[in-house]
């Protein structure tokens, strides 16, 4: 399928969905409105609200806060995951000792931690960052751990025969392998950083996209809720696109997957 063909199909699906939404919300069928405005708003109202948000300019501050929280959560979580991942992969005893605790914390639904973080860190950005970190850390940690463990034994033996010392092995073998695993989960971990930020804002904050949506919900402003979600979705798309760029830049040594080539 050509690029243009695919794009037109994608647009078609969007248009049809919007049309169903619009018709359902505005045109009564047998005197009955399928999607009452109060609960579903209308696409035109939502669109004009989004335009208003950007025209008024107050959305930028919220976007900035959410972006900052996401980036910080990702950076801190990734650094922690890399450090601990390497440590455990090279020191099996440490991994064995901490294993049950890590499993325990990872099994915990992170939302329940949000109030605790707010208690500790206040309503500012750091409680949201902390929530994101608990999500990002585990993904990066597991991938780095795996990446170090799964280094091809032949590549490793070859590097050792070449005369690499431990430091050189780290730099030229373990590190690239771990990074490739970490980057293969980049979309997921960045996504989770964003989830942490937005959920945190939703539960208690004074700025950010999650806060905007929560506020609108508080006054039954359905249009505001949908507008917030649209902005959030657009934001996610942009972040995801940037991640793809970074990924292509850093993983260009890897074969394209069959799906990507098709």
């Amino acid at each position: 399928m050509s690029r243009a063909g695919l794009l037109s199909l994608q647009i078609l699906v969007g248009v049809v969905l919007l049309l169903i939404w619009h018709v359902g919300a505005t045109i009564p069928i047998f005197g009955y409105t399928l999607l009452p405005k109060f609960f579903f708003s209308t696409p035109i109202d939502v669109a004009s609200r989004v335009v208003q948000m950007f025209a008024g300019g107050k959305i930028w501050g919220h976007l900035y806060v959410t972006l900052l929280e996401t980036v910080l959560a990702f950076a801190i979580g990734a650094l922690g995951g890399i450090a601990i991942g390497f440590w455990f992969a090279r020191k099996p005893l440490a991994a064995a000792v901490f294993d049950p605790y890590l499993k325990m914390v990872n099994a915990l639904p992170r939302v329940v931690l949000a109030p605790i973080f707010m208690l500790w860190l206040g309503l500012g950005i750091w409680s949201k960052v902390a929530l994101g970190v608990t999500l990002v850390f585990f993904i990066v940690f597991f991938n780095v751990y795996q990446g170090v463990k799964e280094v091809s034994p032949v590549v490793l033996a070859n590097a050792r025969m070449m005369g690499m010392n431990e430091r050189q092995l780290f730099r030229h073998v373990y590190w690239p392998s771990a990074l490739s695993w970490m980057f293969s989960s980049l979309h997921t971990s960045v996504g989770f950083a964003l989830v942490g930020a937005v959920v945190g804002e939703y539960l208690g904050a004074s700025a950010g996209l999650g806060y905007l949506i929560h506020q609108a919900e508080g006054v039954f402003d359905t249009t505001g809720v949908f507008a917030g979600m649209v902005v959030l979705a657009g934001f996610v798309l942009v972040v995801d696109w940037v991640v793809t760029l970074v990924e292509n830049r850093l993983l260009h040594w890897r074969p394209q997957s069959a799906a990507a080539q098709a």
Binding site: V154, N158, M161, M162, G163, M164, Q168, H172, H252, W253
Partner: protein, 277 residues
């Protein structure tokens, strides 16, 4: 006639590049008695000598090479390198592995240059030498390719350049041309002989292809089927050098030698299949 020297190699006056004396190698497998892959066996490779090891698949050829490389510690026996007992990895040896062993995240050029860089050679000098070596193995046009963008034979040649650039005194090669088609194998064989003629390293060359072994080497060792595999034959190949690895196969002398060795090898191959059937 190819002379058959039974079992223990003759003790030369000079120290051999590699000497294995009565080494045995076992693998521990959980819940089972250890698998005795290699029974006490001995071999020696003189400096500058090209020795091939031929044996049925799974007999322990790679295992033996790993012991010479220092990657595996034998359960018994001695490994000596230029007269010194081997401790840890064999620093004199370059090892071309049976499987792909180049780093997938480095280009062909970087894969070869790194072998010098880790020894402290400057980046520019290392790159220059790497370009030179890749040119010699016929990859001058593929410097910037990543391993996954190269064919199996090209990857092997990157591996070869990566090993040779360090100028090791001993070259260990484990079925280096294994996955290649017959024609490419012969071309690679000729290339290897040309490179080897330059500085005559001691070579231990593992292959399952008897013709290839005869075409390339000074001596062909036959390994028996496992378990408890041993070197059971030692045939001197008196074909004149320099040789062309492809043309030599049509030489009448080649056929005589081949016939003499094949009888012995065939018995071992049949044993292997008999056990697995």
């Amino acid at each position: 006639m190819a002379t058959v020297i039974p079992l223990k190699p003759a003790q030369g006056p000079t120290a051999s590049a590699v000497r294995l004396t009565d080494i045995a190698i076992e693998f521990r497998i959980k819940g089972r008695p250890p698998y005795k892959a290699v029974a006490p066996t001995s071999l020696a490779v003189a400096d500058g000598e090209f020795v091939a090891i031929v044996g049925p698949t799974g007999c322990g050829k790679s295992t033996l090479l790993n012991a010479v490389a220092g990657l595996l510690k034998p359960a018994a026996g001695k490994v000596e390198v230029y007269g010194q007992a081997l401790a840890g990895l064999n620093a004199e040896a370059g090892y071309l592995f049976q499987q792909d062993a180049v780093m997938p995240w480095k280009t062909a050029l970087d894969n070869v240059a790194i072998a010098l860089e880790i020894k402290g050679v400057g980046r520019e000098d290392a790159l220059g030498a790497a370009r030179d070596w890749l040119g010699r193995v016929g990859l001058g046009r593929f410097l910037d390719r990543y391993p996954h963008q190269l064919s199996g034979g090209q990857r092997k040649r990157v591996g070869l350049a990566q090993v040779l650039i360090r100028q090791p005194k001993i070259l260990l090669m484990d079925e280096p041309f294994g996955p290649l088609d017959a024609q490419t194998r012969q071309i690679m064989g000729s290339l290897l002989l040309d490179l080897w003629a330059g500085d005559r390293k001691a070579v231990l060359f593992v292959t399952h292809d008897l013709e290839e072994a005869i075409a390339l080497s000074d001596r062909v060792l036959i390994m028996s089927a496992g378990p408890e595999a041993r070197i059971i034959g030692d045939h001197r190949i008196d074909l004149a050098r320099p040789r062309d690895a492809a043309d030599i196969r049509t030489h009448p002398r080649f056929h005589d030698i081949h016939k003499a060795i094949w009888g012995q090898l065939r018995a071992e191959v049949i044993k292997t299949y008999g056990e697995e059937a």
